[in-house]
């Protein structure tokens, strides 16, 4: 019994392979070719069909033997990736001809990839560097699979380029337009986003403190803060352009408005989160408002504040980009996106989106790292 370790992903993958085999032709061209065996037309997977099925099934079966987790992950990773690569490269030139077996095999390979990620995340390594490595490898694998699926589906189903380009095209575009991308990042991220984020978070925070300090302001400010919260960017952005000009200042202003509210709400909630006994303790010291704030209530509010900082890190990015749809100089990520959509350069649009996603993830990641360091004492960090 110990020799076998079945997993539903692997079993299902084998099953899907069998169904796909039974269904036969993987593309319409193959179907046509087999209907007329006399005329030798080229079709996808001429020679490697057997190899692909074989790899998938073997990897699935091997993975169910009681291997060491690392080995199992390796087998799955190699098997699923190889199948996916062959699938994608085979269909190139025959876009839009794929039939059901193509997609079944794709799903089978994806299941193996999933299993691989699952195995990897169940490993509890003893050394630090391995766990750090795993922390990076697992999301990367997961992401690679999103890209594989995207590539295979857009090509297999022949989705029009201007609706959704395959990631390979986006990758080529990124590589070819690095200077433009860099100029856009410079304009949007290093000016609008960072400055707006800093100002927005700071003002939301200050508003929360003021509201906390003065009951009068709390009663008056919070409802008005709520109203500011949902000033829709598309309404605000043109006004900001009117007020602050078309350069980055108006975008930063939009970001300020967008990030203000989450910070306000979370800080207010956080300031209410400190324990009663701790507050009583500070009272016994006749600690004044600011001392209690600095030494008790802000540390206790930190998890909430970081919550806002994290949400805002992505909001700021969306805000700045969208604000650039309304009057900008001819540089910036939002400008590029909106014009390139109009020019049907959808690969460029996705290149910008990819860059935005990368920048946003880095931004978020930095905030999350600071959070871990600053709220090490919170149960959610100590492990709950």
């Amino acid at each position: 019994m110990r020799a076998l370790k079945p997993s539903w992903q692997a079993v299902l993958a084998v099953l899907l392979c069998l169904i796909a085999l039974a269904l036969g032709a993987m593309s319409t061209t193959e179907m046509a070719a087999s209907a007329q065996p006399s005329s030798p037309t080229a079709y996808p997977y001429l020679g490697i069909k057997g190899l692909m099925y074989g790899l998938a099934v073997v990897a699935a079966l091997l993975s169910m033997l009681a291997l060491a987790p690392a080995l199992e992950a390796l087998v799955l990773c190699v098997g699923s990736t190889a199948v996916a690569l062959m699938l994608v490269s085979g269909i190139t030139g025959f876009e839009g001809t794929a039939l059901a077996p193509y997609f079944l095999l794709l799903i089978a390979a994806w299941l193996l990839g999933w299993r691989c990620v699952a195995v990897l995340s169940s490993i509890k390594p003893s050394q630090r560097w391995i766990s750090t490595l795993l922390r990076l490898v697992i999301p990367a694998l997961f992401g690679a699979w999103i890209l594989f699926l995207w590539e295979a589906i857009t090509r297999g189903a022949g989705i029009p380029f201007i609706l959704l380009p395959p990631p390979s095209a986006v990758g080529v575009r990124i590589a070819n337009t690095l200077p433009v991308l860099w100029a856009d990042i410079n304009q949007t991220i290093f000016r609008s986003v960072l400055i707006g984020y800093a100002l927005g978070c700071a003002s939301g925070f200050l508003a929360a403190i003021l509201a906390d300090r003065f009951v009068f302001l709390r009663r008056g400010l919070i409802p008005i803060g709520n109203m500011v919260s949902a000033l829709p960017i598309i309404g605000v952005a043109p006004i900001m352009v009117m007020w602050f000009g078309f350069d980055w200042h108006s975008k930063a202003a939009v970001v300020v408005i967008m990030t203000f509210f989450p910070m306000l709400v979370n800080t207010v909630a956080g300031l209410a989160a400190s324990g009663h006994m701790e507050r009583d303790l500070m009272r016994t010291y006749a600690s004044n408002y600011w001392q209690t704030l600095a030494k008790l209530r802000l540390p206790a509010a930190a998890p909430f504040i970081f919550n806002a900082l994290k949400i805002n890190s992505t909001l700021a990015l969306i805000g700045a980009i969208v604000a650039e749809f309304f009057g900008t100089p001819v540089v910036g990520m939002g400008f590029r996106i909106s014009t390139e959509v109009g020019r049907m350069n959808v690969d460029m649009v996705w290149a910008e989106i990819a860059v935005a996603a990368l920048a946003g993830s880095v931004f978020y990641g930095v905030v999350a790292l600071i959070e871990r360091a600053a709220t090490f004492w919170h149960p959610s960090v100590r492990g709950g």
Binding site: A118, P139, M227, P232, W243, I311, L315, L317, V322
Partner: protein
């Protein structure tokens, strides 16, 4: 009720301060254009006349509060609420997709948070991609989403609501991950001693402990939903809703209309946030929350 009265005075005071600043701002911002106009018409108004004119332009840079108020009042109370020109009608259109999107978004956010807290695979692999998803500028993909959905026959409320969902699930997911992980270690230990199942730990410990985080996140999410619903109205032809109103206003530089639509949006937002806040307080009370 007492708390209501104790709120009215501060809110009105602060509103009055804002209105005062607003008037000054309106005069200052509308003055350059007025000066241009006057010089083109060779008019030399007195200061009072000039100020009066800055506050009564047809398409001012910053409309004066009374202009917005008048427009808002006309479009809210003096039109049949079924009329295309009634703000109530537009607000309702937006509100319906906001609410649907908020419901979807909250549900999705919670589901994702549950997944992340309970399934190591998801914890390790999903979060970075959820973050990445949130950096995709919604206005850029909204049209594509709507085109694709229309191609498979989904139109009407759902596409707009989906865009709301997209914006609102994230705050909930982030907050709930934090909240579901916030129970004290001793309480978790206690549940372990009972060999409580994951679902029991979840319902009896993690969920109640996450409530403050949930409501703080839901306030942000409901506001985000509204923004999403408004954004979603544009690529659907912007026929109705606050977004359509904003767009039409923007297209014809009808700043007064824009501002009154913005006010309408803000009022809706404030009401929604207040409602979530109220629900939060009721839940807190039901959970034996200790008055601060």
């Amino acid at each position: 009720m007492d708390s209501l009265r104790s709120k009215i005075i501060p809110v009105t005071t602060i509103l009055l301060v804002i209105v005062a600043i607003w008037y000054v701002g309106a005069m200052a911002m509308n003055a350059p254009f007025q000066r241009d106009m006057d010089s083109r018409n060779n008019a030399t108004p007195s200061t009072m006349e000039f100020i009066g004119k800055t506050l009564s332009q047809a398409k001012p840079t910053l409309p004066a509060p009374h202009q917005v108020a008048q427009n808002f009042f006309e479009n809210t109370f003096e039109r049949k609420i079924t009329s295309n020109r009634s703000l109530v009608y537009h607000a309702w259109v937006t509100l319906s997709s906001t609410l649907l999107g908020f419901a979807f978004g909250t549900a999705l956010g919670i589901v994702i948070a549950i997944g992340i807290v309970h399934v190591t695979t998801l914890d390790r692999s999903l979060m970075p991609w959820i973050i990445a998803s949130q950096t995709i500028p919604i206005l850029a993909i909204a049209p594509m989403v709507i085109v694709v959905l229309a191609a498979i026959g989904i139109t009407g409320l759902i596409p707009k609501a989906l865009i709301s969902t997209y914006l609102s699930f994230f705050p909930v997911a982030v907050g709930m991950v934090k909240g579901l992980r916030s129970p004290e270690l001793m309480h978790l230990d206690l549940m372990h001693t009972y060999n409580a199942s994951r679902s029991q730990i979840f319902w009896k410990l993690r969920v109640p402990a996450s409530v403050p985080f949930l409501f703080a996140s839901m306030k942000v999410a409901v506001a985000a939903s509204l923004v999403g619903a408004i954004v979603g109205e544009l690529p659907t032809g912007a026929v109705a809703g606050i977004g359509a109103k904003l767009l039409a206003g923007a297209y014809y530089s009808q700043t007064i209309e824009i501002w009154s639509a913005l006010v309408a949006g803000s009022v809706v937002a404030a009401l929604l946030v207040a409602l979530v806040g109220l629900a939060g307080r009721l839940v807190d009370r039901a959970m034996g929350g200790r008055p601060a």
